[in-house]
């Protein structure tokens, strides 16, 4: 073997170890029978995996995170689909400004979004924390929704709408009859991307937590500061498999990566 033929496999092996190794260690640690987080795991048990489901705060924050990820993504799509449509199909004065406004949340660090919402919306207007979280997550997902939906609209010829109208459909009807069915994949991909982004999001939600109202990742961070048992590892593994599962299914059935 020459130096060159060794280079590729060695590089790839080290890369895979560095990128995936830590995650595999977490998975292994979550099956530990010991009381503290350690590797190699002490014995084998399912106790930590099972414990995750019994921790009350995990259950509540999981529900909150699910609500934000699903509700926030849905709201972002309700706002984002018409906006993407306007940006892609109309000669719109100020289109660049509108595009910049709706995609700005992607550039500004999440912690700033959370803090300014807290200071200037939640406190002065007496908005509830849950609603504030919902607004923040919607704003955060909006840029992704617009980007992915715009991309699939741009890939669709606009004359099919004209054809539908000439065959007797109204403009709105044409949108639902011939545009929606053809950007379905893009919308679903935007949904998944938005869901994963929202679910894993920490900085935006940092300041937006109150008694009993917390997102799951923040709850996990709080828990690991106090308790050093493998339950956070177990929860992390479960969540990782959940999101990997969703993304894999999306790739398999939708060709997710075409849209992102």
């Amino acid at each position: 073997m020459t130096a060159r033929s060794l280079f590729v496999p060695t590089t790839l092996f080290l890369l895979a170890t560095f990128l995936i190794g830590p995650f595999l260690i977490i998975v292994a640690a979550s099956f530990s029978a010991g009381e503290t987080l350690s590797f190699p795991p002490q014995g084998f048990s399912l106790q930590w995996i099972l414990k995750v489901f019994t921790v009350e705060s995990f259950r509540a924050s999981f529900a909150m995170s699910m609500f934000l990820a699903i509700g926030g993504t849905a709201a972002a799509l309700v706002l984002g689909i018409p906006a993407s449509y306007a940006l892609s199909r109309y000669r719109l004065p100020g289109a660049e400004i509108i595009r910049t406004i709706v995609s700005a949340p992607i550039i500004v660090p999440g912690i700033i979004v959370g803090l300014s919402l807290l200071r200037y919306v939640v406190v002065p207007f007496g908005v509830g924390i849950t609603l504030a979280l919902f607004l923040a997550h919607t704003a955060l997902i909006l840029p992704y929704a617009v980007r992915v939906v715009s991309a699939s609209l741009d890939n669709l010829r606009s004359d099919i709408e004209e054809a539908a109208v000439l065959l007797g459909s109204s403009r709105l009807g044409a949108f639902f009859r011939v545009v929606m069915p053809n950007i379905k994949g893009g919308i679903l991909s935007a949904f998944i991307l938005g869901f994963v982004t929202s679910f894993n999001q920490v900085p935006v939600s940092l300041f937006l937590s109150g008694p009993g109202v917390r997102t799951l990742p923040i709850d996990m961070m709080a828990y690991m500061e106090i308790v050093f048992d493998p339950s956070v590892a177990a929860l992390s593994s479960l969540l990782a498999f959940l999101s990997i599962g969703i993304v894999f299914a999306a790739e398999r059935f939708l060709g997710f990566s075409r849209y992102v």
Partner: protein, 281 residues
């Protein structure tokens, strides 16, 4: 292209108004707070005060240093990795690219948490060191710049690799063989041919990694603890511990200016590339 402007505005405005109300206006107010004096005038005093504190200076420099370091190291590893991946058969390339993308789907909390197990006092690294007799007492790796560096590198390396893979794939196929035939050695090939041809990919990947590091919260929070701060964790402390909203506004402004500058650079490179492509046609 439809002509009706009223229709277009009706479709686009709800999203724009929402983003403006929930996001742009509150952020602008927050930023303006840092320029306000007690009597209501405009002043840069808060910035002077912020930068006069040695702690803040250290955090600011540490953030820049870690951002730069992670960006440079990820570029070096990124080229080696992207090269190796591009040289694979299509099927293997797809699988390897998937493996690089996979960590991006996993919660950063979980990804960072793993390093506690690895770098902690009883973690794998310390176990290994002791078994090998390299150190007597367990090393304190956690809650240090080193730990944050490792965590950030692992978090953002995939972004660099993906950018470089697409840059390498868009490179003219014959460029490298042509340079070799003309007598260039591998070092020269990289420096004179590959680097200039993949510059945009490097800049895009670099911007993503650098802004990522700049605005990272989870990694310094978990791996840096309460002592080794970066700008975002400092900002959190200023609000949650000290209730110092002016300092928070100053940090917010620094973060936004830096990430806007990086994104502007990114956009410039992207536009330049588009114009070049159009010119080539």
């Amino acid at each position: 292209m439809f002509q009706n402007r009223a229709e277009a505005f009706a479709l686009a405005l709800p999203a724009a108004i929402f983003a403006a109300a929930v996001f742009i206006v509150p952020v602008l107010i927050l930023l303006s707070d840092g320029f306000r004096s007690l009597d209501g005038g405009w002043t840069l005093a808060a910035y002077g005060e912020f930068f006069s504190s040695p702690l803040n200076q250290a955090v600011f420099l540490r953030t820049l240093k870690l951002g730069a370091l992670v960006t440079v190291v990820s570029a070096v590893i990124g080229y080696a990795a992207a090269f190796s991946i591009v040289s694979l058969s299509p099927a293997a390339k797809g699988r390897m690219t998937g493996l690089v993308v996979l960590p991006l789907m996993i919660s950063p909390v979980a990804r960072t948490y793993a390093w506690i197990v690895i770098l902690g006092r009883t973690g794998i690294v310390n176990q290994a060191f002791q078994v090998l007799g390299l150190s007597e007492a367990p090393l304190r790796i956690l809650f240090s710049e080193t730990a944050i560096f490792i965590g950030l590198l692992q978090l953002f390396l995939p972004l660099m690799i993906i950018s470089l893979i697409s840059a390498l794939e868009n490179m003219p196929k014959d460029a490298v063989p042509a340079a070799r035939v003309l007598g260039a050695n591998w070092f020269q090939v990289f420096w004179k041919v590959i680097l200039p041809l993949t510059k945009e990919g490097l800049v895009i990947g670099g911007t993503l990694v650098f802004t990522g590091c700049l605005t990272a919260y989870i990694t310094p929070a978990i791996l840096g603890g309460s002592k080794v701060l970066m700008l975002e964790t400092l900002m959190y402390q200023q609000v949650a511990v000290s209730n110092n909203f002016v300092a928070a506004s100053v940090i917010a402004c620094i973060l936004i200016v830096m990430s806007f500058a990086a994104n502007l650079l990114l956009k410039r490179v992207a536009t330049a590339r588009n114009t070049q492509r159009k010119a080539a046609r």
